[in-house]
Symmetry: C2
Subunit: 427 residues, 2 copies
């Protein structure tokens, strides 16, 4: 390795996915080919602030390869948003200090909207401070709400999990829904809650399970469509009358007409977002209370985003390609960009990797277009289906041993600290 | 087909599974080989009472074969328990009337403990009434609580789903659990609720995900072990201190020291059982309230029992073999029996099919032996592991098309009614 070769810093940020390690794998494998050392932040950007770096070059190459089939974030992630330069300049100075101490010339940040805002700020600060740093974002979010990229790694796998799950559970519900005239006790209603705070992409993916009219899910409740209780209950009743049962998919971010979330666990994360959960039982109990139907409900929560066993092959491939491309663009000297997927055609699905300036990305949220949702607000349109179908194609299960998927546990060898001072977080 | 050949009646009962259709497939394929027509009850035993029979001989053989990879109950199930002969003799007389009208000489009932009680009663009644009827039970219950059989079809697949899910979600949780000293907002706790009303088998299966000390799940809460809040909270706190996080699996049937369920949706099913759900958020909120840790929780509900995409290959094979053997035993003239799995050895797992007298089965519930649970009551022992491991072996995914599993929708052609009178259910 040339003595003047810069090292790279890589960190995972925010909620992890079944595909984020595939991006890490793409980046690290590409970096090794170019003789660039990748230091990963333990627990994301916190690892940079605390000088807690992981030397990925100490990790056997076969372990790095296994990242492709391991869910979660192998180096640890965190929900920690840097404050603005005015509010907490010391954090930015500390980052640059750590980077300088470890000869880091490339900063790769693998995350969602908030993370790309952070990269953009660091890029600006490094320039202001005169420290040369190539800053590149690698998209990741199951919410699929980043602009410009055709899709966000992690989303396709959640989409496949949710559509598969509702199709399976639909078979179950139909079996259990004996006519009310004979058995009062039969379950008529199933409510599945999906993630998706502000954008209904994950809930929408459930709609792919409906191939023929009447197939579950019968109703999808999107965060983009204010909840109209009366209209919803009429729809549920009609559905039970016509199909004997009603499978409902509801996004955790469902809001009423006043923009209030239907459910709120009363916990606010570091980004100031309310952490949601539990809208499925609320909807189920509403139906029971107003229409009297017996219900079941499920909340998948983390299960949906970590379900590597049913991940989308195309999603994993794209996640890898975006990580790999990040290294390529870095070597080309591109700065302050995010790698993206560019769709060339729907059928067959053709895509290439490109990039977009981070200035344009930061804090832009891509919600479901209105024409992806049916006129009545309760299902997806063919236009939406055309967009979503390519993203769930292909299966790529992890290796199984003794009946269970095998995931790698990295050694995560720490880099020797070089700075005398630790870092104290402001409370 | 000989003119004097008797027809068979088959019905699915109670909560369906990812494997019950595999038993149906085994029975129907075997019956076809012997020229015996199988009439299935639409919505289980209700179909017999209402003379709503499905002629499975009208179903293309390729559709019957597809039952092997289709979750739910293809002919419909129900939760309807016949009353005692003293309470409602008319139901039993009606059943025999319908069977006689359709030349039914074999009664196959595919269900759990309550269903085997029903078969036993019908067998007694048919004898009393002088109607010759061969009555055979085919076990099915994700709860794995039937006696004599090594395991119950449906359980192995739920076990595989739950163990896989908690292993995956464990990777996620570990990624998110940055040290509290740096980030207050990081999630430390994940609670997964499993089914299992009185027996902790499903919760126990989660324990298979723990291969090395410290692997998730860290704590399992069984219905067999009364919940000791203080001891539990100490265990959680130690776990977070030692491993940075704590993954908890809780059975829906968790009870306090007084035998009260921690959660109760306030709904009682036809068998008089309280329908549970929602203990995961209760446990999660308890931890938050007492220890202050941020949490996530999931309730899989029907998802776990319908997850055909991650079903256990051995489970599907056993389900098929039990259905197939039911026909064989019927032709041998065995009556009032349930087909069972008999384990020959653990490693390699060897098993054969046998049978047991229904008189011994009815209303006996097999709970987790105490020596399958660790001394502290919070995990499984090696003895339990040895029992469970064979049951989740092998993957046998359904065919996928367009990124999603393909399930068969049977035509379910009705048998022409022969009786003049309908049947009115008592309210």
């Amino acid at each position: 390795m040339a003595a003047n070769k810069k090292n790279a810093f890589y960190a995972q940020s925010g909620g992890v996915t079944a595909a984020i390690n595939s991006s890490a794998c793409g980046l690290i494998e590409a970096a090794r080919k170019h003789g660039i050392k990748v230091y990963a932040g333990r627990n994301g950007i916190i690892g940079a602030l605390t000088e807690d770096l992981i030397d990925t070059s100490k990790e056997p190459i076969k372990n790095i390869a296994k990242l492709r089939h391991t869910p979660g974030g192998a180096f640890g992630s965190c929900r920690y948003k840097l404050k603005s330069l005015e509010q907490n300049r010391v954090e930015y100075e500390r980052l640059i200090e750590v980077f300088a101490a470890h000869n880091i010339g490339y900063f790769f940040y693998n995350g969602g909207g908030d993370s790309h805002d952070t990269i953009h700020k660091i890029s600006q600060v490094s320039e202001t401070m005169g420290y040369p740093l190539v800053c590149i974002g690698i998209p990741k979010t199951i919410d699929n709400d980043l602009p410009f990229t055709d899709t966000c790694p992690g989303f396709g796998s959640v989409a496949k999990y949710i559509a598969t799950s509702i199709r399976e559970v639909g078979c179950d519900l139909i079996s259990m829904a004996a006519p009310s005239s004979t058995v009062k006790s039969s379950t008529k209603i199933f409510v599945l809650e999906t993630m998706g705070r502000n954008a209904g992409w994950i809930a929408a993916a459930a709609g792919l399970a409906t191939e023929e009219a009447g197939d579950p899910p019968h109703i999808i409740l999107f965060p983009e469509i204010p909840f109209d209780e009366e209209k919803f209950l009429i729809k549920v009743e009609n559905c039970v009358n016509n199909h004997g049962c009603c499978a409902v998919v509801v996004s955790e971010g469902l809001q009423n007409i006043d923009g209030q979330f239907l459910s709120d666990v009363g916990c606010i994360d570091a980004f100031g977002h309310v952490q949601l959960g539990g809208v499925a039982p609320i909807i189920a109990k509403l139906i029971k209370h107003k229409l009297g139907y017996k219900y079941h409900w499920a909340v998948s929560d983390y299960l949906q985003r970590s379900a590597r066993h049913i991940a989308s092959k195309i999603d994993l491939k794209q996640a890898y390609a975006l990580g790999e491309a990040a290294l390529k663009y870095a070597l080309q000297g591109k700065n302050n960009i995010m790698t993206i997927i560019m769709r060339q055609s729907d059928k067959p699905y053709r895509w290439t990797i490109g990039w977009v300036d981070l200035t344009d990305v930061a804090n832009v949220e891509k919600k479901m277009p209105r024409d992806f949702i049916t006129a009545d607000g309760f299902h997806i349109t063919n236009k939406c289906r055309k967009y979503l179908i390519p993203l769930i194609q292909g299966e790529d299960p992890p290796p199984f041993k003794n009946g269970l998927p095998q995931f790698v546990k990295l050694k995560n060898v720490p880099v020797r600290k070089k700075l005398k001072e630790g870092f104290t977080f402001r409370k």
